[in-house]
């Protein structure tokens, strides 16, 4: 039976439209019944509320009675919130005490208040304590004294360290294989064109590595296997490559068509150094002779310079084309003026004999056209900076290592030297202070040659360990670069405006 009862209940709950049997009375039903009772007393709803209001007003007079009379019992239509009996007491208390004098009771309160105020304001009670201190102040710290904790707290970048913020990677950006490279100090087997093509001579082959695209082409191969390439030099525009060979010849190659334009034979020994000055190709040979060749004319050999007694291994025209610097195995550095065609004087402007070893490393300063840097071989190891206007040696520095190549890096005004015995590394020097900026270690054998990329951000070094390493050490900060470009733009626009 119990089950059925439960079932019925469920039913009745689920069927919402059915009348609920055992639920509390609905509101309207309650109201009806209560109004009935109130009707019995014979009071209208409005009046009944009046009564309740009176009841609430009265407690001041009769608090005791009021307690029993809850407003709901009075009945009526209005909703009256439940009154807290406590509040009633408080209210009645306040009302009864309204007119009594307060002073006597409240004085301890205020003193307490005062105490609290004083505690919170002063941190102590004035009544309880007094603050004393020894008359006169203790002595002050000496004048000009600064809290040395400042060092602990604040980091101020010193201007010296700010200058050094450039990061120089100690590892090469790229390593290329150079098999069959001739390990010969006197040869110049690497050159980087303004078209961003790196030319390398590996025994009797000339390879071109396009640094922009990364592809390699074999430009030429000498016919006889015992011959080999001794020197390479790009023209300023980077479209022609001069190749000096062991069979005493100089070849001119058009790179685009990969054709040999002409072969010039004037030397009697291997051509170990080359340098272009417009249409004049200067070549130095093992005999110590330097020949100027005008590549445009059939009778190309125009001048012979005879200052060196041994192999000319360093040869560089200055960027403005006014001087040719040559260095030889006879430890001499010669500077030759540009020769006007037909003029008789073939004498050198300066001959410097300060170096104690073979001079292969020669570099002209791109931002100071009268400055020449030269570096000596194993027995010399010195970098010397020359002024070709005055003919004086400005500075010299012992590097404690054979110098095979020197390059000026204009981005940060630095001088880069490549070293053979004993360190086999590359060193970046600040110019003109010649303070060491960084060492680039990595080559496992002597570095033979060093060239700068056309954007001046990278140096390529070729070493006897048969590798070419690219060192991206001179990248310009992109923000600075942008600022520079903007500067250049703004100046050009100014020029345009002035022209208008």
């Amino acid at each position: 039976m119990a089950q059925f009862g439960f079932e019925n209940d469920i039913h009745s709950i689920l069927k919402l439209d059915m009348p609920i049997t055992n639920a509390p009375m609905a509101r309207w039903q309650r109201k009806a019944s209560s109004s009935n009772t109130s009707a019995l007393t014979g009071l209208s709803p409005g009046k009944s509320t009046n009564v309740s209001l009176n009841a609430s007003k009265t407690p001041s007079k009769t608090p005791g009675k009021n307690k029993k009379q809850t407003p709901s019992k009075v009945g009526g239509d209005r909703f009256i919130p439940i009154r807290n009996s406590k509040q009633m007491d408080v209210a009645s208390f306040l009302l009864t005490k309204e007119n009594e004098p307060m002073d006597a009771n409240n004085t301890p309160m205020t003193s307490e208040n005062q105490k609290a105020w004083s505690m919170s304001l002063n941190g102590y009670n004035i009544e309880d304590a007094k603050i004393l201190h020894l008359r006169g102040k203790p002595l002050n710290a000496p004048e000009g004294y600064q809290n040395n904790l400042k060092v602990l707290y604040s980091q101020v970048k010193t201007p010296a360290s700010l200058k050094k913020t450039r990061y120089i990677s100690s590892t090469p950006d790229r390593i290329l294989d150079a098999p069959e490279l001739r390990n010969d100090f006197y040869l110049n087997l690497l050159d980087w064109s303004s078209q961003n093509v790196l030319a390398v001579a590996l025994h009797n082959n000339v390879y071109l590595w396009n640094a922009t695209r990364g592809d390699i082409t074999l430009l030429m191969k000498m016919e006889r296997d015992e011959d080999y390439i001794c020197s390479l030099s790009w023209t300023k525009e980077g479209s022609y490559l001069a190749v000096g060979t062991s069979d005493c010849k100089v070849q001119c190659w058009d790179v685009e068509t990969q054709k040999c334009l002409r072969t010039m034979a004037s030397h009697s020994t291997r051509v170990s150094s080359l340098s272009w000055n417009d249409h004049v190709l200067s070549s130095g040979s093992r005999s110590g002779h330097i020949h100027h060749s005008d590549v445009r004319v059939a009778d190309h050999h125009i001048v012979t310079l005879t200052g060196h007694s041994q192999e000319v291994c360093g040869l560089k025209w200055s960027p403005d084309g006014r001087y040719l610097a040559s260095g030889g195995n006879d430890n001499l550095v010669c500077v030759w003026p540009r020769v006007q065609e037909g003029s008789a004087s073939n004498d050198s402007q300066f001959v410097w004999s300060e170096h104690q070893g073979a001079v292969k490393a020669l570099a002209w300063c791109p931002w100071q056209p009268n400055i020449l840097a030269s570096g000596g071989g194993t027995s010399d190891r010195h970098i010397r900076i020359w002024n070709v206007n005055s003919g004086s040696c400005i500075s010299s520095l012992d590097t404690y290592s054979q110098i095979s190549s020197l390059v000026f890096a204009p981005n940060y005004k630095e001088l880069v030297s490549a070293h053979g015995y004993a360190h086999n590394n590359i060193v970046i020097w600040k110019y003109p202070s010649l303070t060491r900026v960084a060492d680039l270690n990595g080559h496992e054998d002597r570095v033979l040659s060093l060239v700068l990329s056309p954007d001046c951000s990278t140096v390529a070094s070729i070493a006897a360990d048969e590798t070419i390493r690219l060192w991206k050490s001179f990248e310009v900060d992109p923000i600075k670069k942008k600022a520079k470009e903007r500067m250049a733009k703004s100046t050009s626009s100014v020029i345009h405006q002035s022209i208008r």
Binding site: L121, I131, L132, N140, L149
Partner: protein
Amino acid sequence: MTSTLKGITLKGSAELVAEFFSFGINSILYQRGIYPPETFARVTHYDMNLQVTADPKLKNYLTNVVSQLKEWLFECTVQKLVLVITCLETNEVLERWQFDIECDKSAKESSVPREKSLKTIQDEIRSVIRQITATVTFLPLLETPCAFDLLVYTDKDLVVPEKWEESGPQIISQSEEVRLRSFTTSIHKVNSMVAYKRTDSA
């Protein structure tokens, strides 16, 4: 010495607390860089290296204060010691090192030594001084040259001694407070606290 190892008397307690104040004040002056570090000498106390001023004038000033304080500690009339650090130029209060002293005045009547070994008291003192040293890490740097002052809160009925005068509380407006450890000799209890001016960034 044997008696101090066993227990502690009011006199011994006053001496211990005064000694703590002497080293504590010196430590604060050194750690907060109020005076150049080269004017401080290193001493070993409480089994730790402490810096004590070697400047004769400052030394004299501190001994004056501490010896007076010792007297008050003995009388149990001192309530607080406050080291106030003010900016020399603006006279603004930058830091306030407050040491609340609770004296057990019953010790004045009975001279029975309390049961607490010197070693445990010194251990507690050591940890307070260590904390003072450690505050350098969070207290703001005192960038301007600063001066300090020592305020002593005493009982109201105390007769102001010669050379001493009443002073204001020198409260920091808008301060940040850090409670440090406390220690007790079982007669004197010292609660330490440092308040410092809130920096705008905080």
